[in-house]
Symmetry: C2
Subunit: 378 residues, 2 copies
C-alpha cells in the first residue's frame, strides 16, 4: 500500500474468503466490513454514537450531495466532514460520479469530465477527476474514490469499452492530484457484465499505486446471479495485499456470497432505506412491520440479535410506531438493521478465521430464505 498510515493485512483465508485488518489513521477496520451510508453527513436518523455502538468504524459519505449542500468549502472551513458531523473514526467518500451519472438528461460528458445540473436548484457544476479529488480533499475523508464513468447497466459493449478507457485515464489523473495527509485513494474497476473487459480493467488498475481496489457498476439492473458469477471469477484475482471493495451492494445474502468470493468491504443504503419502509433485516430474513401479524407480538425483531432495540422493544410496539408514523419507529428499525449488518460481518469474519466459512454462509442463507416473511425479490 502506498499511502502513509494505511496498512492492510490478511489475517486468515478460507477458500477465497479472507479475514483482514485494515489499519487507517482514523480507525482500525476489521474485514469483512459493511460501511453504513451517511449520504448528507449523517447516517439517516442515527447519531454517530449509535452508529459506532453497532461496531462500525468506517462509514461512507456522498461527495455529490455534500458538494452541493453545504458545499465542500464550508465543510473544510468547519474542520472536515468527520469533525463537522462528529464522527471520530474512518470515513470513505465516493467521487460523486455515480450520482451524477444517474442524473439522466442533466449532464454532458467528455474526456475532461462531466458537467451537470444540481437536483436541488438546477445550478450548473463540473466534476473533473481533479475537482473530484479536490472536493474529497476538502471534505477530508480517510479514503477518496477515483472519478469513474458508470455507464447504464444495459449499455452496449462499445459504450462500456469507451467508459473503461476513460475511467483508466481519469484514475491516473486522480492519483496524480495531491491529496491531504491521512487520505488514501482507491481505484474502481468497471466493465459491466463483460468478464473480459473487467479483467483487463482490473489488470490496468492493479498496476497503479492505489491503496485498495473497488468493483463498481454492479447492482445496476443485471441479474444477481450474473454478479455472483463475475465476482467468483474476478474477486480472487484482485490484488491480495490490498482491500477489495464491492460498491453499493447489497442484501445480506449478497454480502455472504461476495465475502465467499474474497470481497472485504461493502456499502449499501439498504439497511437504512428499508428501515424507513418498515422493513427489518434479520437472521431470519426480512420482517415487514406493516403486517398485521405483528399487532400483539411481544417478540423482538430478532431473538438472535443483541442490539439495544431487540433487547428492549416488541414487534408490537415497533409496528405501532410505524403505523402512527412516529419517527422513533424508523429510527429504531434503522438501528437494528445496522446492528444486524455489523453482526453478520463479524460472524462471517469469525467463521473465516475458524475455517468454516462455506458452512456458515450456507446455513445463514438457508435460514434467511426459509424464514423470510415477505417472499419474492426485495
Amino acid at each position: 500500500m502506498s499511502t502513509e498510515g494505511f496498512h492492510y493485512e490478511v489475517i486468515a483465508e478460507d477458500g477465497p474468503a479472507r479475514a483482514g485488518r485494515f489499519v487507517t489513521p482514523h480507525a482500525v477496520i476489521e474485514t469483512p466490513v459493511f460501511m453504513p451510508v451517511g449520504t448528507q453527513g449523517t447516517v439517516k436518523t442515527q447519531t454517530t454514537e449509535e452508529v459506532a455502538a453497532t461496531g462500525a468504524r468506517i462509514i461512507l459519505a456522498n461527495t455529490y450531495h455534500l458538494m452541493l449542500r453545504p458545499t465542500a468549502e464550508l465543510v473544510a472551513q468547519l474542520g472536515g466532514i468527520r469533525r463537522f458531523m462528529g464522527w471520530p473514526h474512518a470515513l470513505l467518500t465516493d467521487s460523486g460520479g455515480y450520482q451524477v451519472f444517474s442524473l439522466t438528461g442533466l449532464r454532458s460528458i467528455d474526456d475532461g469530465g462531466v458537467v451537470f445540473r444540481s437536483h436541488l436548484d438546477g445550478s450548473k457544476h463540473a466534476l473533473t477527476p481533479e475537482r473530484a479529488m479536490e472536493i474529497q480533499g476538502l471534505l477530508g475523508s480517510s479514503i477518496a474514490m477515483v472519478l469513474d464513468e458508470c455507464p447504464p447497466g444495459a449499455a452496449e459493449r462499445s459504450v462500456i469499452e469507451q467508459a473503461v478507457r476513460r475511467s483508466t485515464m481519469w484514475a491516473k489523473r486522480c492519483l496524480a492530484y495531491p491529496r491531504p495527509p491521512e487520505q488514501a485513494c482507491f481505484g474502481i474497476v468497471q466493465g459491466g457484465v463483460h468478464a473480459d473487459i473487467r479483467r483487463a480493467h482490473l489488470a490496468e488498475l492493479a498496476e497503479l499505486p492505489f491503496d485498495g481496489i473497488a468493483m463498481g457498476g454492479f447492482s445496476v439492473g443485471e441479474p444477481i446471479e450474473t454478479m455472483y458469477s463475475l465476482l467468483s471469477e474476478l474477486a480472487p484475482t484482485m490484488p491480495r495485499e490490498r482491500p477489495r471493495y464491492l460498491m453499493g451492494v447489497g442484501k445480506p445474502i449478497d454480502l455472504l456470497r461476495s465475502v465467499g468470493s474474497g470481497i472485504d468491504m461493502f456499502d449499501c443504503v439498504l439497511p437504512t432505506r428499508n428501515a424507513r419502509n418498515a422493513q427489518a433485516l434479520t437472521w431470519g430474513g426480512r420482517v415487514n412491520l406493516k403486517q398485521a401479524r405483528h399487532t400483539a407480538d411481544e417478540a423482538p425483531l430478532d431473538a438472535r440479535c443483541d442490539c439495544p432495540v431487540c433487547k428492549k422493544h416488541s414487534r408490537a410496539y415497533l409496528r405501532h410506531l410505524i403505523r402512527a408514523q412516529e419517527i422513533l419507529g424508523i429510527r429504531l428499525v434503522t438501528q437494528h438493521n445496522l446492528s444486524f449488518y455489523a453482526a453478520l460481518m463479524r460472524a462471517a469474519r469469525t467463521a473465516i478465521i475458524e475455517g468454516r466459512y462455506a458452512a456458515f454462509a450456507a446455513e445463514a442463507e438457508a435460514r434467511m430464505l426459509a424464514e423470510d416473511e415477505i417472499g419474492g425479490p426485495s
Copy 2:
C-alpha cells in the same frame, strides 16, 4: 392525598413559589417539573433513555390517540403503556376530553358524555366519565385525569357556567370509578377567563379526594397576560398539600411566571413541536436554525447548556441537517429543547430553595427576551 403510594410534600416556599417532592409508585418527582408529551406512546423522535437522561421522571401520553390506535385494550394486553413503550418512570394520561372537544363538528355532548368520530377513520366512539377512567386504567398510567368539558376560549359566560357544572358532576363520577392500584387521579378546574367561576369550581373540587388539582382551559386563545393575572390570583389558593398542575402551558417565560404563582407541574408540546420546526429554546431565547446567520457558526445552540447536543454539535451542523431535511436534525433539537426545559425547572427549584426565585425569574426572563433572535410572539 388519598391514593396509596402517592405523597406530595412542600420542601421550600419562596413567596407563592414552591419547591416540592411528589412521591409516586413509579418515580419520585421533584417539582416544579415539566412533563414531556408522548402523545402516541413516544416522546416524538426520542428514546425513553434520552428522555430520562434529561432528568425527566414523568411524561404525558394522550388517551384520545392511544384509545384509537393501538387501542387501550391492546396496550393493556401488552402490560400497560409504561411497559409497552419501555418507560419505567411515572406517566400521566389526560382524559381524552381536550382532543375530543377540539374535533369541531365531529361530536355531540350531553350530561352522559361525548360521542365523536375518529380523525383516523371516521369510526364512532363514546367517551363518558366512566369510559375515560376505564381507558386510563387499561393504559395503566400513574396519574389519570378526570374527563371535563373544555368550552372554546371565546365561549359565552353561560356556556362556561354550564361546562363547569357538568365538569364537577363528571369529576365525581370519575372519582367513583374503580382505578387500578398505583393510579392517582387529578381534578381539573375550568372557568375560562372568569375568576369568580374558576374560584367557585376550585372550591368544589378541592373538597373532593383528588391527589392533585389541575388548571385547565388556558392557552386556548386568551391574552397571555390574562392567564398570568388569573394564575397569580388563583394558584396560591389551590390546596397547599397537593400538587398543582397547569395543563398545556407553555413557553419558557410562561413556566417562570406560573412557578412564581405557585404552580408545580406543566406539560406542553412546544419543546418537541417547535424542534420539528427548526426552533431551539435556550437560556438566550429562541434560535431559528433556518436563519442563514448560522451557516458557518461553530457555536452550540446554547453555550450555557450542558446537554449532549450542545456539548457536541455546532449550529452549522444542525442547520445543515435541518436544510437537508435529515431526521437527525429535529431529533437533536428536540433532545436539546427537552434538556433545556428540564434544566429551567431544576434552576427554578434551586432558586426557590435558596429564597431568590423572583430575582432568578426576572433575570432569566430578561435575558430570554433580550437575546431572542426571532422577535414577536412565538
